[in-house]
Each structure stands twice: as structure tokens, then as C-alpha cells.
Symmetry: C2
Subunit: 481 residues, 2 copies
Amino acid sequence: MYSADDFAQAPAAPHPDLVRRLHEVVGDAGLVLDAEAQAPYLTDWLGKWRGRAALVVRPRDTAQTAAVVRICHESHTPIVVQGGNTGMSGGATPDASGAQVVLSLSRMTAIRAVDPINNTLTAEAGVLLANVQRSALEADRFFPLSLGSEGSCTIGGNLATNAGGIAVLRYGNTRDLVLGIEAVLPDGRVWNGLRALRKDNTGYDLRNLFIGSEGTLGIITAAVLKLFARPLGRATAWVGAASIESLVGLLADLRASAGERLVAFEMMSHDSLALVLQHVVDTRAPLEGAHAFHALVELADTRQDGLDELLESALGAALERGLANDVALSRSEAQSLAFWKIREGISQAQVRAGKAIKHDIALPISSLADFAHRAEAALRALRPAVRIVNFGHLGDGNLHYNVLVPADTTPAALAAETALLNRVVHDLVSHMGGSISAEHGVGQLRRDEMHHYKQPLELELMLRIKQALDPNQLMNPGKLL
Amino acid sequence: MYSADDFAQAPAAPHPDLVRRLHEVVGDAGLVLDAEAQAPYLTDWLGKWRGRAALVVRPRDTAQTAAVVRICHESHTPIVVQGGNTGMSGGATPDASGAQVVLSLSRMTAIRAVDPINNTLTAEAGVLLANVQRSALEADRFFPLSLGSEGSCTIGGNLATNAGGIAVLRYGNTRDLVLGIEAVLPDGRVWNGLRALRKDNTGYDLRNLFIGSEGTLGIITAAVLKLFARPLGRATAWVGAASIESLVGLLADLRASAGERLVAFEMMSHDSLALVLQHVVDTRAPLEGAHAFHALVELADTRQDGLDELLESALGAALERGLANDVALSRSEAQSLAFWKIREGISQAQVRAGKAIKHDIALPISSLADFAHRAEAALRALRPAVRIVNFGHLGDGNLHYNVLVPADTTPAALAAETALLNRVVHDLVSHMGGSISAEHGVGQLRRDEMHHYKQPLELELMLRIKQALDPNQLMNPGKLL
């Protein structure tokens, strides 16, 4: 992790021939040469990483992207692809060498097709996620991928990182929402895999190889996305419970009774809620009294009738069985939004409360409670006063298991503490068959840990594939692998 | 395509050292040496392909499988993996050389774990699909993959071919039902990717590379499968309609009103139904009068209440809108089974009616009607009296678009006619952005056509991956690529 002052901010000096050739392809509108204009492309939105670039290039379509990549291929220039630049792991920030070209897809914003009969939408990589959602709605369909940054992240970035978010429980990760892709290969050739088919068993699954590869195998320039029926009915509730065990039991019961109507099961600890109530304006506790854990539960359906009754009856049963201690059913859209505001306020509250050592982990749902007990015990053994902010997508087995440190912690002390506590948490995650990066990807953030925690054989397979598809190692070097 | 008499049936003579080494690993129970006992492993169940084998080996667990593969690797012996041997494309039948070892996973039948809280089941490759379904039900959960051969196909074969079937509309293909796999690599090392996680963004999607690779990259020996809530409610109906266009419109309406309750939308032409009524005992037309096209529609839900009314109301609206001409709602389990008997009887009816030139194709759902018109016109231009059996999984855009030829057609004439009509149908499919193998895979059946219809760049990518993972080309040579 670099701080802003780790190296000089002098702009890199790209080879004039490279500039000339790229300019021939993308013109003035597609080149960002000015140091000030380049700055936003050279750091991530958290300000955690910072790099330099030979150039920032913004092609406007697939042909230009292919031509840019071909020139980079011929001149042995490494490429860092960038979408909305909202990543959490530094995967889209160039390194400090000044040798890398940042290739931003933010001008590739065409929605090429919407087919409501086939339930598909074809979008270019630079389309904002919110615009994909909106285009689907305009065709009376629904695109379920939803995350906090949906107003500024691009679908290309979602594809490159296999983004998760708040609809995974019901609709899966980005990977599950894609039928076909178009990709520019490291040598500049274009693979047209834009198939709009539900079934196609003609060879290897190249699509899923590019999805989630964080720009290290090629550049996804467009995708055929799956659309769904619009959920017109919705029922939301807030649940207070004594333990994660209880919430896991409630999740199982809700699945059995509500089936695929269950679209969200978000969990947060008492301390996470307290942090939000303290730091985020216009929030108040949904329930009287104190509960060790809370859940935001939502059902959705193509029809409203019976949905509230279903949720009420299921949560009534949970109260009787002791899986829930108290329940607040939302009686209005405003109340549902207030519940979601709490859930979505946790990130902001953490920022205001100090600094956080973050973990984006996944475990089998059946292991979540055990993990939380063991992780807290291990952390308290080292740091008796540790403040844990444990929240996340319980229905996906995905916890954002964060540790707060005081705002005045020095960068050096924070780095040391991060290394120490990451190891404690991730050792346990790894030991319990979990993932050290559930939805945020590897990027620069978890690259060293990949080498520590991944089986050597699995890393070897990845490297063989990398070598097969990007033999010159020009695609996003220094990330993921 | 080989006929049974294309080459001598003398058993191959494996190298004694190979036999000795494999015997040390798998013992008597794991070696099939006798020519008669070997026979079922050397042909497919359709009797369309036949080959010879150096040996048939049946390891009983992953360690034995790995040891067998290591020996084959060291002795440069090619391997053909076989599960239930129910494939449609000759992917599991050895070639005529007698040099290949058939590695049957049929003894690897352990269900290693069922976790109803995490909604996962871990099965070895040789478990029958029906046994996976049964184990899920015993844990009060549901495993949705369902196909005609489920009583004899294995989950390993389903994984190797990314099997489709009758639940794809709602639950996806096999690929969509898997969280993790264990695979033996071509050099005999074991990759343990048996993660039971809903989210894991730590590197390339190796899992999906092996799934659907038809045994050409390695051997899937076990998998963590997703389980679902049991659908306890069900509503089934038979619909008569004037055209595919009408049925496509009905599908869109049903999706909007019933959402994910819609679990089956199977289509068959008038001629397909007539063939079943003629050739399959105990079947009768569900509707009075003649209809050009028929659909079997099914809703399922975790609860029964309201389901019949929902289907009745949706189909009533379809009658009013002219999307359906007549409708029969099933009033009993027996009636639903009778509807399904018709749908599942088509394959049998075709066998009894003569020989069929088969196509397993996928198209965007919005193109299905146009395709059917154009395909019929193209075929009738060549063969005015052509008998087309058009049926399939309309909800997946997957047609089994078959052409009947008289039972007394000679093998040579059938081969020539097949080549001619395949080209007509597949040219159109390819032109319209479809797939020439929706769910049956490539195997030997479509291998030559792969080279004709696939983009050279896509083939090149596949070959590079093949080379990266199986550099000695020992895994299922002669299949897929």
C-alpha cells in the first residue's frame, strides 16, 4: 500500500512515438496528457493507492480499444484497465513505474441492445451500473446487480471483478448474470463471444475465465446481461436476535417458507448498529432494547398480495421458536428506506469513527457463528479492547469483518497492525475453508496474501492460464497474481 | 460416426507393465480385462459409436484416480473418462486405436457431505444424478438438475458436459448449480477446489473451466453442489396455440406474472404430439381439436396456496389475448404426470417412427419463431416431404429440431442425408447467433462442425488453454477440439 507521498508526482515521459500512434487512433478526445487531468486516474477513490502512467487513453469503442491494445502489444507497453475506478483493492491503479498506460473504458457507454423477449441487455463496458438498471426498467425488466457504488461504477468493472453486492442471495454474483462477452485480447484481436443464449455447450467456458480476472487476461468491452421479471411486491423487516446462530436458523426457515422470494438477509452486530446511530444523521434504532445481532430481511415477488402476510407469519414463527427476539415489519416505503439507510450507513460510520482494518471474507453459512466466536477470541487475546464491526451479507456467507483503530493511528502503526490482524483473521478463514476476498477481488490489496493462502497447485494453474493468454505479461501486471 | 462393424472387435493388447502398475493401484475389483465385461464401456448407449480400449479401470476414490492418471501420464497413455455412459455425442467412447484407457468413475459413489444450513451437498463424480436428488430430499432440500437419464447418468458426467435438462429455465445449467470441484489434473496431481462458498473472488474461475470441458482438461472427481428450498406447491397446464410466436408471447407474460415460479415451459409441434400419440402407449391428447403448437407449462413454489389460481388467471389472460387457443389445467398429480409422459415420450416415439437426424440447438428466444419458419422453408426446398419433429425447452431457447427419415434408410444414405441437413440447419443457427450444441456437448458428434462454425480465434483460445493444462494431449483426445 502506497501513501500519497511515497514517490514523486512528476508526470511520466511517454515515448513520443507511442503518443503519436495512440493519438492517431483516439484523437484529442481520447488522450489525457495533462498532469492535473490525469490525476483522478492515478489513484483509487479511497486514496489508498497512487501510481503514475505513461498515458491515460480513453477509446470510444471496441475498434479503438483494439487498436490501442495492438499498439501497446507492439511496443511492449503494459496496460491497466479502468472503469468507474470504485474498486476496493487497487486493481485499477497503475504502479509507480510510469511505464503503464491507463486504458479507461468510461467513454464506451452504449447500450447496444435490449431484448425484453429474450430477457437480455447488451451493454458496453463503460455503462454505469445504474444506467444498466435504468435501461432494464425502461423495458419493464429488472437487472438485479446492486451495490453502494452503482451510480459511479461501470458494468465493465463489475465484470472484471465479478462484483457481488446486495442481491447475490437471490440472483448470484455478476458472473451469474452474464450470457456472453466481447473481449479485446492482449494482442489487440477481438473475441466476439456476445452470445445471447441460455444454453451453449460448444467448448470451454472462456466467458467465465475473463469475468473476475481483473483485467489480467484481456479487456471485456461489452456483455450480454440477463434480465429478470420486475419484482413489484416487496416486504421488509428488521429483526433483533441473540446470536448469529439464531439468525442462521432464521435464514434457513425463511428459505424454506419464502423460497426465492427472499432477496436480502443482511446482518449487523450491535456495535455496528451503534456506530451508525452515533455517526449517521437521521437514523434511529428500529427496535426497542438491545440485541446482540440484527438482520435486515427483505422479500420480493412479481406480486404484492400475500407477501406481507408471508413475512409476518414467518417472523412470528421465528419469535416463537426463539430465533428472533424482536421484529419490526416495515409498514411503508419510507420505513423500508430507513432500514436500508442503516445498513448502507455502516461504511460511512466507520470512516467517521476512525480507521478500519477491513476483511471481506466468505465462509460456509453453517460456519459463520463459529467463525465469529473464534475470530473475536483470537483478536481479544492480542488486543483486549478491540472494537469489531461485524456486518455483511449473511445470506451469502459474506462478512465484512472489520476492526476499528483510532483515527490518530500513524500510517506506520496502521500498516503493522493491519498485517498482524489480517493474518489472525485470514488464518482462521483459511483454516475454516473460507475465502479471504469474497467480493472485493485481489488487486494489489490481497496479492501477497494470495501467495500465502492459495494452494500452490491452484496458483500454478492460474499462472499457466495467464501465460497461455497473455504471454508478454502486459495486462494489468502487478495485480491479482 | 462409426458403425458396429467398422473395425475388428479383437481386444487390444495393453502393455503388461501398464496392467501390472494399474493393478497395484486398483486391484482386481478396479480392472476390467475380460472382453465381454469391457464391451459396455466401449460403446455409447445409443450404439452410435464403438471403440477399443487398452484397459478399463475403475478406481474407487480420488487417491486411486490420481494414481491411475499419474501412471497414464508417465506411460503416455491417453485417457477417456466415463460416468454413466449416457451421453448423446460420443464423448465418453474410446477411439479405435486400442491405445486409450477408459477410466470409469462409477465406483466413486460417496456423498461426502450434506449441509442443509449452507444448502450444499458434496458428491463424488460417480453418484447417480437420481441419488443426488434423493439425498437432497432426505435433508429436506432440493437439487433441481433433472434429465431423462437421471436414473443412470452420474453427476460427474453432468459436470463434464454441463448438462441441461428440464429445470434450466428456473435453476440454470449444471454449471449454475456448482460451488466447487475437486479435479485430478493430467499429470495425476489433485486440485482441491471443493469450496462451499457463495462468494469467492480470489483469482481465475478454474471451476468453470473444467465444467463442460468433456474430460479434455482433467477429471472432476467430486463437487460441492447447491441445494434449494423444496418446492412443495406445483401447478401444471397444457396449452394449445397457433404459433411459436404466441407461445413466446405467453412465456413473456408468464415470467412477468409468475416470476421465478415458472419452472418449465416445454414446447412441441403438432407433429411431435401426433408422433407420441401414435407410438407411445397410454397417451392421449390433452386438448380437443388441433393446435399447431403445444406447451407444457409448470409453476412451482415453496407453498401451494394461490398457485393454481395464479396459473389459471395467467392462462385465462392468454386466452383472451389470443396467445393461447385452448388450455387444460391439471387437476391432479396423475394428470400432470400424463402431460409429462407426452413430453418425455417424444424420444421414444421418434425411435419407433424411424430414424431421426437430430439437432440440439439454442437461439435467442426472440428468434425462435423466425428460425422455425426459415429452417422449415430451407428443408422443404431440399426435401418437400420432410417430417420435422420440432420440440424442446422453449423457455431456454433450446430446440430439439429433428428430421425423421424412414426406418429402412441405409447407413450410407443416412450419413449423407445427415451431413446435408445438418449443414442446412446449422448454417441457419450460426447465421442467427445460435449454438449448434445447446446441451448435448460436442464429443465426437459435433467436433468437425466445431471447426467449421466456431470463430478461429475462439478455437485458438481453447487450444491454448488445452495446451496449457494438458500439454501431452492425454485427456480424451479426439473429442471436443
